[in-house]
Point group: C2
Chain length 400, copies 2
Amino acid sequence: MLIVQKYGGTSVGSLERIEAVANRVIESAKQGHQIVVVVSAMSGVTNTLIEQAQYFSPNPNGKDMDMLLSSGERVTSALLSIALNEKGFNAISFSGRKAGIITDSVFTKARISYIDSRAIKEALNEGKIVVIAGFQGVDEEGNVTTLGRGGSDLSAVAVAGALNADLCEIYTDVDGVYTTDPRIEPKAKKLDKISYEEMLELASLGAKVLQNRSVELAKKLNVNLVTRSSFNNNQGTNITKEDGMEKALVSGIALDKNQARVTLRNVEDKPGIAAEIFSVLADENINVDMIIQNVGVDGATNLGFTVPQNELELAKNAMKKILHADTIVESDSAVVKVSIVGVGMKSHSGVASRAFKALADENINIGMISTSEIKISMIVHEKYGELAVRALHECYELDK
Amino acid sequence: MLIVQKYGGTSVGSLERIEAVANRVIESAKQGHQIVVVVSAMSGVTNTLIEQAQYFSPNPNGKDMDMLLSSGERVTSALLSIALNEKGFNAISFSGRKAGIITDSVFTKARISYIDSRAIKEALNEGKIVVIAGFQGVDEEGNVTTLGRGGSDLSAVAVAGALNADLCEIYTDVDGVYTTDPRIEPKAKKLDKISYEEMLELASLGAKVLQNRSVELAKKLNVNLVTRSSFNNNQGTNITKEDGMEKALVSGIALDKNQARVTLRNVEDKPGIAAEIFSVLADENINVDMIIQNVGVDGATNLGFTVPQNELELAKNAMKKILHADTIVESDSAVVKVSIVGVGMKSHSGVASRAFKALADENINIGMISTSEIKISMIVHEKYGELAVRALHECYELDK
């Protein structure tokens, strides 16, 4: 088999941990598999680099930041390759550029354009274990770029897709995907399998095992993902196509604390106004999540949306620039989003009403509601976040 | 003017120091100069990376080491560029690759093949200050390489040459070039000027201000070098062409402690034997320094040479492989090399005899002697190194 293994920051958080990762890679290699490893920076390194940059500037420019931040993964990849070679295995470290990861030029959150996998394939054909610095690539002009949060996962999935790998294992410090965060609900259970679609909703909704960009890409490229712990030998969670899976009504409950709500009151109710608002937000690279628009009255309407908390000020300023003077921009960052995810929802009615009742029983007021085929999301006051998760986990009997 | 400024590890040894460097760069920029900056890793960083690599392997492979070691300079270049931008100056950080520094593939001690300076020129034309990560380049296959000790100086000189810069300033933590090491002889005086040739001898002989590779390259490319301190505003030392300079009899005394002597006794005295010995040493990339061969007797001869101490074992093993069984390989690493350098020597006799007498007066035995047009080098026991320096400094009245 050709296996891509990705090790996150805590998995390579010390020299001893890198040694343990080397041994794990070797176990797989000894089974006759071809191995490509993608590594993150050692935990803490990226934050230290960010702090150093902020010593000089509250808002350092992206090109320099990418030059700075990309160094952490390069160090880990070199050290792991050195460890593998010392143990008698032929390994080589690749920067994102050498691995052929070509991106656009949106510095600090670049998107992968394509993978030129020739150098990786050549090294694999020479019997080498290829150790790639995750999180980074290079744009068409040869500038170093980084892929934003969760970027190393994305590197791994993209490489797995380009190589048509049999498996892409994402190693972290947790055993897999749970029905909800075990720190909030100790009765949470690990899932053996979950569909891309469900994982996508869970990832984007605050289950931090995998970023949604990685799951989206895995789905698109049909990459067979497994998320598991590098600290033990427990089976992880398979993330795969929906077909043939038992359709659980609800697979999990997610809590996203990094939410801020913006409400626009008295917006001119005319064709194209929503398009204008959200294209401005897109131009600023603001990640808009939920969007709610009520039916308009007297030529005016109210419009609400949520953004990550650190993008709230940017979003508000963008709104003030384009909106009519009569429009009121309100915001609230003391909110969280609780979500119910499950492919089984598609074919079952009553899932939503059960959720609303469960929260009502706990006297939790729901600020915004948004639903998709396999997800129901609710904005509630931040102080009720954990309570809402536990109530919903119980109401769908996820601990059974 | 177009000025290349290079800042060494102690000059960028902390965030505060990087800020100070930014201010110094800005002073030059405000005078209307175009500035290219080349930076080293923050002091200590490279050693930490080497220690991390050695945790895994006593002899890590060069390709991975270069991936590892090149990260330090990238961090410094990014941080300095961020600092400059924050202070209102348009700056950009370049990796060695982006700066177009193309090298051969001798990992960990690559040589620069050529500089493709288009990206630097383009950025300068856009009014930018270009901050280049020193010590690194890229080979023709796109692998990261590093240039070995003093590599950042070399980056700076090569870039200055390629850009036809008016000046290349090498900033360190010392004021310039001294008649000898002031820690050994407090009466040592700073030189205002020195020729490339003299500096070359001093650099290769242990005056650590500049590595000889950098001075050689500066001479070849006719780069106007200045070495000075980044910690004060003192004038430094100009390193320039010999023409028109007052020819001092002796400019300085150098001490090189990183020497080991190899003596080959009973070497077959036939044509080609020396060529064979030194081509084998060259193949192993061993830096041979002094070479002494006596006249042969009875078809056998003795041959002595010196190498850096850390290459002694490698050199001895290489010798054992090719030499006749009767040849005896002896070595001694408890030696130092003391050298007298001065362009004035060319036209004055008696310089050598004065030196030998000065050492004899101190009862210092001379193990090997080697002379060139502007240099006399002597191998003595390491315990007499400092004493020899002081005796020679006094005998040529360098404190006057």
